[in-house]
Symmetry: C2
Subunit: 125 residues, 2 copies
DNA sequence: CTGGATCCAGTACGATACTG
DNA sequence: CAGTATCGTACTGGATCCAG
């Protein structure tokens, strides 16, 4: 596949496929949860501790969405007290690779973006 | 850099770097505009025609944000009627690669996600 | 032609409180 | 422990109208 054809993937179907995945990992917590879950399967509370700043509500919502998309699987054990563990599905794992590619770009260019923003803002004054 | 270290890039700085770029390309139109602009520099109206469904307002906002981030450059020609052209900056071009990686993943797994969602939803009934 | 200004609906997110 | 329910806020994106 040529580079040009690859770029067309972004625009494929009016960008609907890429939109769907961006709507998921674009939200505030999903990618962070995925990256955290990549280390190991984890219980709800442990996960909340490992993702600093996330509220119960948002962790709950995020996990439910990820489960619905088939990126995370949920296993609840019939015990008292209740124990529920979350882990990435095989498909969830494959998402790590492109996500890391984006993260590398982000970390590498973050200073440039910051500089550009400050320049832009100072010109507006 | 090991795979584990790479995954940590996502969580680096509490995920701030990846968040900044996701806040940008995660919005509804930015990535579509970038992909469209990858083909060639383009005027405002032409761009609007090439990105189906985008409103004037959103194109304008999107372009200004991208310009502020240093991903797109704006050149206005002192003519009547006014002519303004947009093109990707060198940094903007480098974003194409990880974006395409994500788009490939999205297109490849879109059917699986759709299936998973339908399954999940039918179980809730 | 290239946008800026305004109004409005939907929703993402946070804080807090409550429950099996 | 692992969530759900409720409320309030702030922001996003769309439609429309206006201006240099």
């Amino acid at each position: 596949m040529s580079r040009y054809e690859k770029v067309c993937l972004i625009r494929a179907d009016g960008g609907r496929a890429i939109r769907r995945i961006l709507d998921r990992i674009g939200d505030k917590w999903a990618l962070l949860v995925i990256a955290t879950l990549h280390e190991q399967r984890m219980r709800f509370t442990h996960l909340q501790q490992r993702v600093p700043g996330i509220s119960q509500r948002m962790l709950s919502l995020t996990l439910r969405n990820l489960e619905r998309d088939g990126l995370v699987s949920r296993t609840s054990y019939p015990e008292v007290p209740p124990r529920v563990e979350y882990e990435l599905t095989p498909m969830g794992r494959t998402l790590i690779e492109p996500a890391v590619a984006l993260a590398e770009w982000a970390v590498e260019h973050d200073p440039d973006i910051g500089r550009s923003q400050r320049q832009y803002d100072s010109r507006q004054t």
